[in-house]
């Protein structure tokens, strides 16, 4: 049997907007992924620790609070410190295109803005895992 892709859907910071995170978490689950939802109000350390414990392939962060330029780099750095170089950090939310581009240049995966479809996200993750996880 094919190994299920494991994804941590995370809400970092103080942001309580969880509509998107929950819709994506349930859509990924229905697409056959193993989904862990962090719950709200997690620190970057808690997110990375949970990702390590759960041995996930992917961390998907949802940020609608405007704190994306702080939280994505911080989580990326913590992942590097823990040697999680083969884990994808992706996400979405209220993130202007220029910011998404800047974060992608710093090593974050693709970020999905308003109007994205779960199909694109599923395809992107499957493709990344096929190419980067053995």
């Amino acid at each position: 049997m094919e190994k299920k892709i494991r994804v941590l859907v995370g809400k970092a910071g103080l942001d309580g907007h969880d509509r998107g995170a929950k819709v994506i978490a349930s859509a990924l689950r229905d697409a056959g992924f193993e989904v862990i939802y962090s719950g709200l109000h997690q620190t970057p350390e808690m997110i990375v620790e949970a990702a390590l414990q759960e041995d996930v392939d992917v961390i998907g962060l949802s940020i609608l609070s405007g704190a994306h330029m702080t939280l994505f780099p911080k989580i990326k750095k913590l992942m590097e410190e823990k040697g999680m170089n083969d884990v994808l950090l992706t996400g979405g939310g209220i993130i202007p295109p220029d910011d998404a581009k800047a974060l992608e240049e710093q090593g974050t995966g693709k970020l999905f803005g308003p109007g994205s479809e779960s199909g694109e996200i599923i395809a992107y993750i499957k493709d990344w895992v096929a190419k980067n996880r053995s």
């Binding site: 103080l14 309580g16 978490a25 405007g66 702080t70 939280l71 308003p114 109007g115």
Partner: protein
């Protein structure tokens, strides 16, 4: 209405439908509302035959207020144009407030940043990246003094969107007014102060539901005695809808929350006719025009009947559901953002035709960032065009008597009543929250909506239809200066070195005592505020006494 007449209508409608089917064919589309409620092709007198003019519709300003809470509605006074604003440091938002007042806005509405909403100070590690980003950063009375500098609090009304630490912000406001020489009896404004929807939708909770309810009842009790013109709770459906609910869920869950506050205040021994006139509501106005108008009409009718007959309120003011409306942020698109101006205009007009008392119109850029000054001005102008150009304000509740509108209003009332029964069966609002009832229903509706978009059963212009190739975002984006965090923390530290630590500790000790002995916390918050204790310091004391809430994980 005599039966012969209705029989004739029904018979002729049958013939008409046969003719319609022979001669025409409906498009291959789903004729449903944004909440997935099916809508018929035609409504006739038999669809609204249960509606009694005198009992169900009646006259504006008169029970059950289906047509509006005032006798003259907008022929008397227009709604209050109240744009929600806040970002950066207090001085930045103070400038935006002055700008909005200069451009004809009537009242202020403060957006706080997430650390403030969650009761943590700007120098807390949890606040990193969030200081001043989605609202204004307030740590203590010192910031609040800057926020309202040069704005006379006896002349302006202020709405403050804050919930878990709401009573603390009200204490700050009372102290700023006192410094301006304005007594608390004269203050006008609204505190959102609606914790129940935090557990179900907005998720900015701190304490468990029971102690949270106690703080709210404390603030209601205090205001009833000392700040009599203040709207103590703005019972909010807005966030429930934004979290993905349907229109009926928004209506039912919001009203159920409101009735839970009514019951909690009665249990405290407060007189319903003293506190209920200062309760207000806050609804979303989504894109489905008729469904929204029906929702507002149904809300007034349900509320009036329950307040009068179930809770025994005798004061007419206790029966009237006053409400603020905000257009639906979740209906806006990142794609072709200029189209959001049009969406917002339709939604705003539904709010006006639904009889709103105040209105916030969203800005075209809000799926990307907080509104730029340019976008915020267009949003305000949208309301002014509705008010002064379209003519919809000339007559009151113009859709009354429409077979469609009355049947839809009735249906929403019935479906809300069914929800009230289910909530009662679960033991009330708080047990239903703890069982995840609301959260599950809202998450299901949100997922269904997204699935409909992805299946193209529901078309959103620019998102899954009428897309533009290689679209580039070409609108100004408001950026919060990264220096804000550092400046705010510096200012907090400076404030702390200048205050009297003995009075801070003393006021916090008294707060702890009050939390334990059950006495009203409001006077204690005011004392802490005057000693320049920070929000974080006060909340930390209460976290030890009350504990923190962990929500059930549902997706």
């Amino acid at each position: 209405m005599n039966n012969g007449y209705l029989d004739k209508v029904i018979a002729q409608k049958k013939q008409w439908r046969e003719a319609k089917q022979q001669k025409t064919r409906d498009r291959d589309a789903k004729f449903v509302t944004v909440s997935s409620e099916p809508i018929k092709d035609l409504y006739t007198p038999d669809d609204s035959q249960d509606v009694d003019f005198f009992e169900d519709i009646g006259f504006p300003g008169e029970f059950p207020y289906t047509r509006g809470i005032h006798h003259n509605m907008y022929r008397g006074r227009l709604w209050t144009m109240r744009q929600f604003a806040g970002f950066g440091m207090a001085k930045d938002t103070n400038e935006r407030f002055k700008y909005l007042l200069e451009h004809g806005q009537d009242g202020l509405s403060v957006a706080f940043d997430l650390p403030t909403l969650m009761g943590v100070d700007s120098d807390d590690p949890k606040s990193e990246g969030e200081v001043g980003t989605c609202g204004v950063a307030i740590d203590s009375l010192a910031d609040m003094e800057v926020l309202f500098e040069g704005i006379p609090l006896d002349k302006i009304s202020t709405s403050m969107t804050i919930n878990s630490p709401a009573a603390i912000l009200l204490a700050f406001y009372i102290c700023v007014a006192e410094k301006q020489g304005v007594p608390q009896e004269k203050l006008r404004g609204t505190l959102q102060n609606d914790i129940l929807k935090e557990y179900t939708a907005q998720k900015e909770f701190i304490f468990p539901p029971e102690p949270s309810m106690r703080i709210i009842v404390d603030s209601v009790e205090y205001c009833t005695k000392h700040v009599p013109m203040w709207n103590t709770i703005s019972i909010s459906g807005y966030h429930i809808r934004e979290a993905g609910s349907t229109a009926v869920q928004e209506l039912a869950f919001t009203l159920a929350d409101g009735f839970a506050y009514v019951e909690a205040c009665i249990e405290r021994g407060l007189d319903i006719d003293e506190f209920a006139p200062r309760f207000s509501h806050f609804f979303n106005s989504h894109i489905d025009f008729f469904e929204e108008i029906a929702k507002f009409r149904a809300a007034r009718r349900i509320y009036a009947k329950r307040m009068r007959y179930k809770y025994g309120a005798k004061n007419e003011k206790s029966w009237k559901l006053r409400f603020h409306t905000q257009t639906a942020g979740c209906s806006l698109t990142g794609q072709q953002p200029e189209n959001n101006i049009i969406r917002t205009a339709f939604e705003a007009m539904a709010g006006v035709l639904g009889g709103t008392q105040s209105l916030h119109t969203n800005s075209l850029d809000e799926t990307w960032a907080l509104p730029s000054e340019y976008a915020a001005k267009i949003a305000l102008r949208t309301q002014q065009i509705i008010a002064y150009e379209t003519g919809v304000v000339n007559t009151i509740d113009p859709f009354a008597g429409s077979y469609f509108m009355e049947s839809l209003t009735n249906k929403m009332e019935q479906e809300a009543e069914e929800y009230f029964e289910r909530i009662d069966a679960l033991g009330g609002v708080i047990p239903a929250i703890e069982k995840g009832f609301f959260q599950r229903d809202i998450a299901k509706a949100a997922r269904k909506y997204q699935d409909e978009i992805e299946a193209k059963d529901r078309l959103i212009v620019g998102v899954n239809s009428h897309k533009e190739k290689d679209e580039k975002l070409d609108i100004p984006i408001l950026r919060i200066d990264e220096k804000v965090t550092k400046e705010q923390i510096d200012s907090l530290n400076k404030m702390k070195t200048g205050r009297n630590q003995v009075s801070v500790d003393e006021s916090l000790n008294q707060l702890r005592e009050a939390a334990r002995d059950g006495s009203n916390l409001m006077p204690r918050f005011i004392e802490c505020a005057k000693a320049y204790a920070t929000i974080g310091e006060m909340i930390d004391v209460l976290k030890v006494e009350f504990g923190v809430y962990k929500e059930p994980i549902i997706f």
